[in-house]
Structures are given as C-alpha cells and as structure tokens.
C-alpha cells in the first residue's frame, strides 16, 4: 500500500473501529502523530534511538507495547496484518495482539508473509525475503546495545554521540579471551550505516544478515524503554566482528524440519520425552505451512 495510493483513496471511517468505543487504532490522533514523527526521525538517522512519549497499552509492558504502538500508528484500514512471536503465528501473545489490532483498526489478518503489508514480530525475522511494499515492526526489550557494558543511560548516550565504542569492542575481545569466541547469541550488536551500534532486538544470529541491504523497512519499537529506531531499506548493517573471528550464524547442519523437510530455516528444538530425545521444526510456522502444503503433496 503506497502512501499516495492511500491518500488518493477517500477512506470511510470503518464502522468496526467505531463500535469498539475507541478511536481508529486505539490511540488518539495526537499520540499517532507523535509516533509517526518519531518514526520519520528514526528513518532519517538509521540506527539512532529516538526517545518518544510511549503510551500505556492494554497489554503489559515488556509484552510488545513498543511494536504495537508503531503498528497502530501506521495501520490503515486495508492493510493486511501478520503477527508472530518466536516465528510462530499461533503463539499466545501474537494471537492476542493480532485480535486487538484487528478489533481497533478493522484490518484483515494473515499468516502468509508474502500477503502481509505489516508484520509485527518478536525475536524472529520471517524466512521469506520481504519486499519494498512491506514493513517489519520488531518488538524490542533492550533498545541499547551498549547496555552490555554500561548500565547508565546518560553514559551510553554520550558514547553514541561521540561514537566512543571501544568498550563494546573490548567486551567482544574479552569474550574471545575467556571463551574462545564471541558468546553473544541473540541481540548480536550491529553497526548501522557505518555509524551507530544498534541492537537488532533479541533475534538469533541466524536473522541478522537479513537486515543488511534489505528491500523492506525495519522499524524497532521499545515501549517500556520509550525508544523507536529504524533500519531503512538498502542500508548497510554489519555485525560487530573481527577479521580473524568473523560472525557466524547458528549451526543446524544435518537437521531438517520434521514437518516440511526444510534444511535452510531456523529450527526449534522440542524435547520429545523424559529421556531427552529431540525433534526439530521450523520456527517460522507460516513459512513451514506453505512449504509443507507443497512438500506433502
């Protein structure tokens, strides 16, 4: 849905939104406007954390209020929404958020990545490559990658302002000294646009390369911590690595999805029985559904 298309088309106020007694998109227009302006600033300065007046939502802090506010600020009636948690459409919290947004914005929902115009996600990026007609909204618990080395917000903002990142690099160096490799598993810090060190949200290493020079717009919303930041399309996103200790993703060699046979997706490990037997399934259930339909035929 391009913006100009939406503006040209005269929107009728959808009656489902009115019936819930709440304004379209649950938030008042002032809130939506502020969040949109924060998003624009975030896109203008890739990787920079824009502080914004985060509103309380009917779901708990730490359960996706940041992502929700971005979705609600952006959604238009004929958007198609997909919501996933740990890659799964059926996950309890994802279902809740989807129901809530559908109720207050009257939008259609889907589990098919290709079909969705807005995808709100927690801790995963869909396996399918997203297009320039889609937006991925990531829920963020810790917006500050430097929190690993510096608890104080005042100090981390100075470090960003001065691009004084040696302490973060030192942390990685010490990891290698103590453990023989960089032990960061999720929230692997990346440098966006060659300037800001940014926290990609707790996505596994597996998803980090998908952020680099992508076609789609990535918007990161931290509700509790009141920050919005973005990785615009075609932006360089490089994981912090050393020439002789390069970034590597999780290793699923020899394992395939028990449901759709995929060998190139991030696999969940499920404990079968008390004896500790394991089986593996695609974490991205939408993708797995589509594959298993064709795979089982």
């Amino acid at each position: 849905m391009q913006l100009h298309e939406w503006l040209a088309d005269d929107r009728r106020q959808d009656d489902t939104a009115r019936s819930s007694g709440y304004p379209f998109g649950f938030m008042d227009d002032g809130a939506k406007k502020e969040i949109r302006r924060s998003i624009l600033k975030a896109v203008a300065i890739p990787g920079y954390q824009v502080p914004y007046g985060s509103r309380e939502m009917p779901i708990a802090r730490g359960w996706g209020t940041g992502g929700l506010q971005i979705t609600l600020a952006l959604v238009v009636p004929d958007d198609i929404l997909k919501v996933i948690d740990q890659g799964c459409d059926g996950s309890v919290n994802a279902v809740n958020i989807k129901k809530f947004v559908a109720k207050v914005a009257g939008v259609a929902v889907t589990t098919d990545t290709g079909e969705a115009t807005i995808i709100q996600t927690r801790h995963r990026i869909p396996e399918e490559r997203m297009t320039d007609r889609q937006i991925l909204v990531l829920q963020v618990p810790y917006p500050e990658a430097l929190r690993e080395v510096e608890p104080s917000e005042m100090e981390t903002r100075r470090m960003h302002a001065e691009a004084d990142y040696s302490r973060m690099w030192l942390h990685l160096y010490e990891d290698i000294v103590n453990f023989g490799e960089i032990t960061i598993s999720y929230r692997y810090p990346v440098t966006v646009n060659g300037r800001y060190i940014t926290d990609p949200s707790p996505i596994p290493r597996w998803d980090v390369p998908k952020l680099h020079m992508a076609d789609t717009l990535f918007l990161f919303g931290a509700g509790r911590e009141k920050r919005i930041y973005a990785i615009p399309p075609h932006t360089a996103v490089e994981p912090l690595e050393f020439e002789d200790h390069t970034f590597r993703t999780e290793n699923f060699a020899g394992k395939t999805c028990a449901r759709c046979g995929a060998a190139d997706t991030f696999l969940d490990e499920v404990i079968d029985n008390i004896g500790g037997g394991r089986s593996y399934f695609c974490s991205d259930t939408g993708y797995c559904d589509k594959r298993s339909v064709t795979w089982n035929r």
Partner: protein, 290 residues
C-alpha cells in the same frame, strides 16, 4: 625547530570565581584559594612549549596545579581559559580540518568538540597515572586493556592486537604468559608498566606521566624510570613528566618547569634549575632535596 604543542594562558578554576581571584591567589599569597569567593584557581595562565623528542619536567608540591595541568592537556577536564595548539607536523594527515590552510599550528584544541578531542587524544597522547585504577580497567585482562586503545583506533584483528599487546608487554618487562590476567592480580610496579604499555599501544607522540613512580618501592621505581628512559629514546617520544621528586625529573628531563599555587614560578634547563635556582620557591624546593 618548531614545538609539537604550544600552550598559552592555560587556566582552570573550580567554583564561581570573582574578579579578585587572580590577584589574591598565587605564589606570593602562597595559596590558590580565593579568600573572597572560596573558589580554587587550580592553575592560571600556564604557558609553555613542548618540543618533539623532548622530556619536559613539571615539578611542584601538591596543590601546585601540576596534575590539573595534565588532566587539562588530556582533555579530562574543561579548561577555564587558554589555548593548546598542535603543530602541523604532529598530525596534519589525521585531521586536516583543524588546520586553517597554511597555518603551522592547529586551532585551539581545548575548544573543539568532545568527539574531536577524543579522536586527537586517542591518536596523539598516552597517559600513565599515579593511581593505576585511573588508567586501567582492573577486571579486564591486561592484554584487553592494551587492546581497548587499539580498538578505539580501529584495529579489528584479534591476532594482530594480541601480537601488538605481547610486544608491548615484553618491552615493558611483563611476562607475556600473564597477558590474559587482569591487572588486579599484579603488583604496583607491574600495574604501572601495564599502564605504560597501554599508553604506548598506538604509538602516541606525547606521553603524559603523572607521578608514575610515587608510592612504588625504590627498586621498582628505578626499573620503571629506566624503562621510561629507554622507551623515550627508542620511540622518540615527547614526554611531560609530572613529579614532586626532583630526582625523577633530573633523571628523565632536559628542561623543567616549577609550579607553585597554580603559576609557573621558574622554567629552565634541568641542571640549571637544580644548581642555580632563581625563584625563592625553587630554591626552597631544591634545598629540601634529601
């Protein structure tokens, strides 16, 4: 020969200050606390040049402003006034923007942005504090402490950094097998030597030494001072040696500046300062040598 650094009118005041501060503090009043407004004129109107490959001694008792001087030059504290200019030869290639077209000297470094200051400090200066806690991260490996400066300067190869760290630790007589141990496990003398290794990690032009051997045992102090002397000759470093001990300055420096209550009371060749002191306070200082 052109100086590497030109410092003019450097001053630092803590507290509100008043128009009577300057003329009611200083050597003649034997204090740097202003009786009218209680603010402390830590140092006032310090001017000197530091030449390439020169060790300049700064002596004075506590409260004379010598440590303040080092903190100001290292951009740790905001100067209340004065200028510090870098010679074009020092680092023209690194920051063309701080040199107006033809000028030999850069703009005033003290008034630049924190970002630029930190860039310049990282590339140009190394510092060794009297208290190792100020110079080192005690819980991080000593190799890591050295690597931090290299990382700040853009090094991105672990093996390369470890090799550089090992080389520096060897140069500063620290067993390389202890590279991955944190400095909190080391003796005082070793901690100072790790600081020296860290200060030299990305080949600075200027080494700031703030009372580095104070509090060390005599034999350890001797070893550290010899190390500094040899390193200066080997790396052709300019050094600012701050000490209350004339013996240290005599061993390392050709020229010496004597500070008292925040002012320069005398400046000259080190042997002249020791054998033919002019100012009252310098005579007192030399006479009170053990």
């Amino acid at each position: 020969m052109e100086p590497l650094i030109r410092v003019r009118g450097l001053s630092k005041r803590f507290g509100p200050g008043c128009d009577r501060c300057l003329d009611s503090t200083g050597p003649e009043h034997d204090t740097n606390v202003c009786p009218h407004c209680d603010s402390v004129t830590a140092c006032s109107d310090l001017s000197f040049d530091l030449f390439p490959d020169e060790a300049l001694g700064i002596v004075g008792e506590s409260g004379s402003g010598k440590s303040t001087l080092v903190r100001l030059l290292h951009f740790e504290w905001e100067a209340s006034g004065g200028s510090m200019e870098l010679h074009r030869g020092g680092a023209a290639a690194l920051w063309p923007e701080i040199f107006a077209d033809q000028d030999q000297f850069s703009a005033n470094l003290l008034t630049m942005s924190q970002f630029q200051k930190r860039q310049i400090r990282n590339a140009l200066m190394g510092i060794v504090y009297q208290n190792p806690h100020l110079g080192l991260r005690m819980q991080v490996s000593s190799g890591g402490n050295i690597a931090e400066r290299l990382l700040g300067a853009g090094w991105r190869n672990i093996a390369g950094m470890r090799e550089r760290a090992a080389e520096l630790l060897e140069r500063t007589e620290i067993p390389v097998r202890r590279m991955d141990e944190p400095p909190c496990n080391f003796s005082g003398g070793m901690q100072q030597r790790v600081q020296i290794a860290k200060a030299l990690s990305n080949k600075p032009l200027i080494l700031l030494l703030d009372e580095v051997t104070t509090g060390l045992d005599l034999s350890v102090q001797a070893r550290v001072l010899d190390l500094i002397r040899n390193l200066r000759r080997e790396f052709k470093l300019s050094m600012l040696v701050v000490s209350h001990d004339l013996g240290v300055v005599n061993l390392l420096c050709q020229r010496t500046m004597v500070l008292k209550s925040g002012r320069v009371v005398e400046e000259g060749l080190t042997d002249q300062i020791l054998q033919d002191p002019q100012h009252r306070y310098t005579q007192l200082l030399v006479a009170s040598q053990l």
